[in-house]
């Protein structure tokens, strides 16, 4: 499903060359649920953004279903994300001036769905995450947990094959965190591939596999039902 082949990412920061990720090679199969853990600055988010076609590597290739992402231009990658990839962010990244319903409608609008169909699908998704009675609430009128649930509904809008989550429980209390992980487990059971960056050991334990990064290098892979190929 997702592959990284000798991917390195370097960038310059105040004149110094910084290596965010170094020679990372991995393969994530369809239906996998991978937790990426490691200290701050270890390259977790870099890896996630690269898998999502948001950050081009300095060297190596990233492939989604056999398609080399960075052989596409930025707009081509955006179109691919629209169809195949969903993002969940630590800070939810909801559009503040839109209601919960409208936030979920955004990916559907981007896919060219008619307004009526957008609304029907968005209502169904918000009901699924337990926010059927909060359709017209703006993010500022929702609790933190409710905001993340809107984000979860939004990520499912276009029925993506891959969900990339960056610290999805980072801003949540333990109970809400549990609900989010349960949600991921549920959609994973439905066949979606999930890659989740997290600092939370309890959340990582719930993944099928855990990938540990340190200093931009994949250092270990902790046991799951499958093994990651670690360079």
């Amino acid at each position: 499903m997702l592959r990284m082949e000798s991917v390195t990412k370097t960038y310059r920061h105040r004149g110094q060359l910084v290596t965010a990720l170094e020679s990372a090679t991995l393969a994530i199969g369809k239906g996998d649920f991978v937790a990426v853990v490691g200290p701050s600055g270890s390259g977790k988010s870099t890896l996630l953004l690269m898998l999502g076609g948001m950050l081009s590597p300095s060297a190596g290739r990233v492939l989604l279903e056999g398609q080399s992402l960075y052989d596409l231009n930025a707009d081509g990658r955006a179109r691919l994300r629209k169809r195949r990839i969903g993002f969940v962010f630590q800070t939810f990244n909801l559009v503040p001036y839109l209601t919960a319903l409208e936030n979920v409608e955004i990916p559907l609008y981007l896919s060219g769905l008619e307004p009526g169909a957008q609304r029907a699908r968005a209502v169904s998704l918000l009901e699924r995450v337990g926010l059927g009675d909060r359709l017209d609430h703006k993010p500022g009128e929702l609790s933190v947990g409710q905001q993340q649930r809107v984000a979860l509904a939004r990520v499912l809008a276009n029925d993506p094959a891959v969900i990339l989550a960056d610290e999805p429980t980072g801003n949540l209390d333990p109970e809400t965190s549990d609900q989010v992980i349960e949600f991921f487990e549920e959609v994973n059971r439905e066949g979606k591939t999930i890659v989740m960056v997290t600092h939370d050991p309890r959340a990582a334990q719930r993944a099928k596999r855990t990938l540990r990064l340190s200093g931009g290098t994949i250092t270990s892979e902790e046991s799951g039902r499958e093994r990651l190929h670690v360079a």
């Binding site: 948001m54 955006a78 990244n93 981007l110 960056d166």
Partner: protein, 406 residues
């Protein structure tokens, strides 16, 4: 969800930030529409005024400095009446009517008025020598006097105010200006004593709003006799064909009468034209300033808006929005801003012009729908141009950097 929903929600969410830029555009368009509207009607009024003057060329003594068209004959200097004969006998093309005038100050019942001598057409026609070569044997109709209602019908002497010349006037008859008639309670058929002679009032002239309202018109030769100056006049009003005037009629008259000053009505109202031109130039300068200030304000606002929304833009891109969609979001916002500024500016500017026109320019101003199109085109063009580079910057944002999560 539609793009316009996305754009309108954002506009209303952050309307206070938008207000300054919108005001800059709105105010600018308002002022320009207002100036253009008033100037248009002011120019129209001047044109109408010129048309109503009838005569469009004046022959005056060389020494005269002319300030007021209507008072052209009310200076002390004179030219020989012979000039009228010379003009009438000439082969100049484009002379429609000649109206020589001589004015005297008179006092009637303790009040001062102007007695103006005019020569009726019949005097010209009575001179056989003029009939052959004279201007009245030629077909006329190109001058401003042509087409006057009532032409060809029995003469109504009140048309003097338009035609500047009448067909007949007896030596004991006078025409009385509206103000004189009102002040002296004169009406048609009354008699009035001027410089020791009694005259019958043939007609009371309609109100013109000019010094003619304070005049009493009598036969030129009668006034010459009363003045004791002999066969002289103060001025000759000439109705000339516009086409001939532009083809050098004034120069030809100058050559024929080298000791007289020949001016056209255009020269007389030159100061008004210059004022209108100045207003026009000022409005252009003002437009440039507004475009620059308004444009800078919009561009500044848009850049700030892009910066403020970079995380939102990054999120949209992460969800699959391509750069063209982001560009369109910002340009649609600019378009809506421009439409609001243009339409609002037109409405406010028109209201201002209609309300202030009579006070500022002394003219009645009506709404000009064409200015709505003009206002919207300028406003939308300005906001789109000012927003293009900020919008392009938004479209080129690195979604990864905007999320600031590396």
């Amino acid at each position: 969800m539609r793009m316009r929903t996305l754009v309108l929600r954002e506009i209303f969410e952050r309307k206070s930030q938008l207000l300054t830029s919108l005001l800059a555009i709105l105010l600018g368009i308002t002022v320009i529409v207002s100036i253009k509207n008033i100037t248009f009607y002011s120019e129209k009024a001047v044109a109408r005024e010129m048309d109503s003057l009838g005569a469009n060329v004046l022959v005056l003594p060389k020494s005269v400095t002319l300030q007021d068209y209507y008072a052209a004959d009310m200076q002390g200097d004179v030219i020989p009446e012979e000039y009228v004969t010379q003009l009438a006998m000439s082969d100049l093309q484009g002379l429609d009517n000649l109206s020589p005038k001589l004015s005297l100050p008179v006092e009637v019942r303790g009040k001062k008025y102007t007695l103006t001598g005019i020569l009726p057409k019949s005097e010209f026609q009575a001179k056989a020598a003029w009939r052959g070569a004279g201007i009245f044997s030629r077909p006329i109709g190109c001058g401003a006097a042509a087409g006057v209602p009532g032409a060809g019908q029995p003469e109504d002497k009140r048309t003097l105010v338009r035609k500047r010349v009448i067909d007949n006037l007896d030596s004991k008859e006078v025409l009385v200006g509206a103000d004189v008639a009102a002040a002296l309670s004169l009406k048609e058929g009354d008699s009035v004593e001027l410089l020791g002679q009694t005259f019958g009032v043939t007609a009371v002239l309609p109100q013109t709003g000019t010094v003619d309202d304070s005049r009493i018109f009598a036969h030129l030769h009668t006034v010459q006799d009363l003045s004791g100056k002999g066969p002289v006049i103060n001025a000759i009003e000439v109705v000339g064909c516009c086409q001939e005037i532009s083809n050098g009629l004034v120069e030809k008259i100058n050559r024929l009468l080298p000791d007289a000053k020949v001016v056209t009505i255009t020269q007389i109202v030159e100061s008004q034209f210059k004022m209108n031109q100045l207003m026009s130039r000022l409005s252009t300068i003002f437009l440039v300033i507004i475009v620059l200030v308004g444009g800078a304000s919009i561009a500044n606002y848009m850049y700030a808006n892009v910066f403020e929304r970079r995380r939102e833009i990054g999120t949209l891109m992460a969800l699959g929005a391509d750069s063209f969609l982001v560009l369109r979001i910002f340009l649609l916002k600019a378009l809506l801003l421009g439409l609001a500024g243009g339409v609002g500016g037109y409405l406010l500017g028109t209201a201002l012009a209609v309300a202030m026109g009579p006070h500022l320019a002394g003219v009645r101003v009506l709404p000009m729908p064409i200015l709505a199109l003009w206002a919207v085109v300028i406003s939308v063009g300005l906001t789109l141009a000012a927003s293009y580079f900020p919008a392009r910057r938004a479209a080129r944002l690195d979604p990864c950097a905007t999320l600031q999560e590396i």
